[in-house]
Assembly symmetry: C2
Homo-oligomer: 214 residues x 2
DNA sequence: ATGCCTTGACTGATCGATCAGTTAGTGTAT
DNA sequence: ATACACTAACTGATCGATCAGTCAAGGCAT
């Protein structure tokens, strides 16, 4: 009993984890400039000074939130992508599913991050270097895999395909209710994630086919 | 000569116009929370108090910037959309071009707004009501036109097509250089607007075809 | 001289960041 | 075992800077 055993620490999270979680939620809801260190500290139920003690500056905390979450997402993407057989007739669909499913958050708990993720795609200057370091390497892997799956596709076309497909994702990842509103749905129920994913893959596969045929 | 004639006011803009232009630029670069009224006043070369005199609050100034620019964009969209013959074989392509070309900014001067436009699509709570009032009516017109052009398409499918197509737009409207970077372009020249527009229409038309066939 | 613009000066509030100081745990010499 | 030294974790108080917004007064047409 002399040692603390981290194995059984279930809900008893550490202060650092509390801060990261609180920061992720608030950054997602209000953006970087809209979120105060005081609000994060209150949400995490720690003192504001502790945030600076652990992360230095607000910007470094922001970087930490994004780099950690992006690592989880991209690790999951890589695992799915490596399973794709580029010779298969459904290769493109599988590649797209590997691209879309992890950020759509089937592995629980990534929902608040979705807004940050979307924001990065259209991001300001601050975010662009983050995208470069956290997402560009993975993007290059997807682009290369697309070129393998569709013979005769140059990097420019594959990169454009990747970019446009990613754009389609971010309009449905947000879950702001606009799609349902434009659909004229009477039942207020949100769309099912699997259904969205299927339509997303249908749409982007059709788009890529059109682009690479042209 | 007793009246001010707005016809010949070329570069001699009014203070209100200067404020709106400065606000648009800064809101686009730094976002709502990242932009201070002092910075807008300096950019517009007027006093900070004048901003509050003309627009009341920062939020009202923001609304004014977006509602004015969105009106121009959507007026242009409506004009193009009304010219589309839904019986034509190229109807979908023409509809998509009507959707994409105005915000891509061929009519000069809309470039800084592109970042605001993108931000609205993935927007926070504040922006969602703005999207509803400024863009939803136009969106419904495009969705209805799509249903006319592709017989047998229900509103849900057309709305999903519209949403996904719009997502593709916002990744290329930003011009943050990522597409060129992922393409591995040696020449630092940015992509031509007309070329981007063509690929965008190719991609989204293929996607919509896939969605409506399914 | 009346009414619309425009301004400098200013307010209280909130921002991110820093500080000295407290607590708890750990190793170490006696 | 006991006393001491050192460190990581954490906090309350407070800093200067900046925030959006206010106000009385000046300029300047008609």
């Amino acid at each position: 009993m002399s040692k603390a055993e981290p194995a059984l620490e279930d809900t008893a999270t550490t202060a650092v984890d509390n801060i990261l979680l609180a920061a992720e939620i608030l950054f997602a809801e209000r953006g970087f400039d809209g979120t105060g260190m005081k609000a994060i500290a209150q949400e995490a139920q720690v003192s504001q000074a502790l945030l600076h003690y652990h992360f230095g500056t607000k910007e470094q905390l922001y970087v930490e939130v994004i780099s950690r979450r992006s690592k989880k997402i991209n690790d999951e993407r890589h695992a799915l992508l490596d399973c794709v057989d580029t010779e298969s007739s459904t290769a493109v669909r599988e590649i797209l599913e590997a691209l879309f499913r992890p950020p759509l958050g089937p592995a629980g708990g990534a929902e608040p991050y979705a807004k940050i993720f979307s924001g990065l795609v259209v991001g300001r200057e601050r975010d662009q270097q983050l995208v470069r370091s956290c997402y560009d390497p993975t993007a290059q892997r997807f682009i290369a895999k697309l070129q393998q799956a569709i013979p005769g596709t140059d990097q420019a076309t594959a990169a454009m395909s990747y970019t446009l497909a990613l754009g389609s994702l971010i309009t449905v990842i947000n879950r702001n209710g606009r799609v349902e509103r434009l659909m004229g749905k009477q039942d207020k129920a949100a769309l099912d994630t699997e259904e969205i994913l299927r339509k997303l893959v249908d749409f982007t596969e059709g788009g890529i086919t059109a682009l690479t045929k042209a």
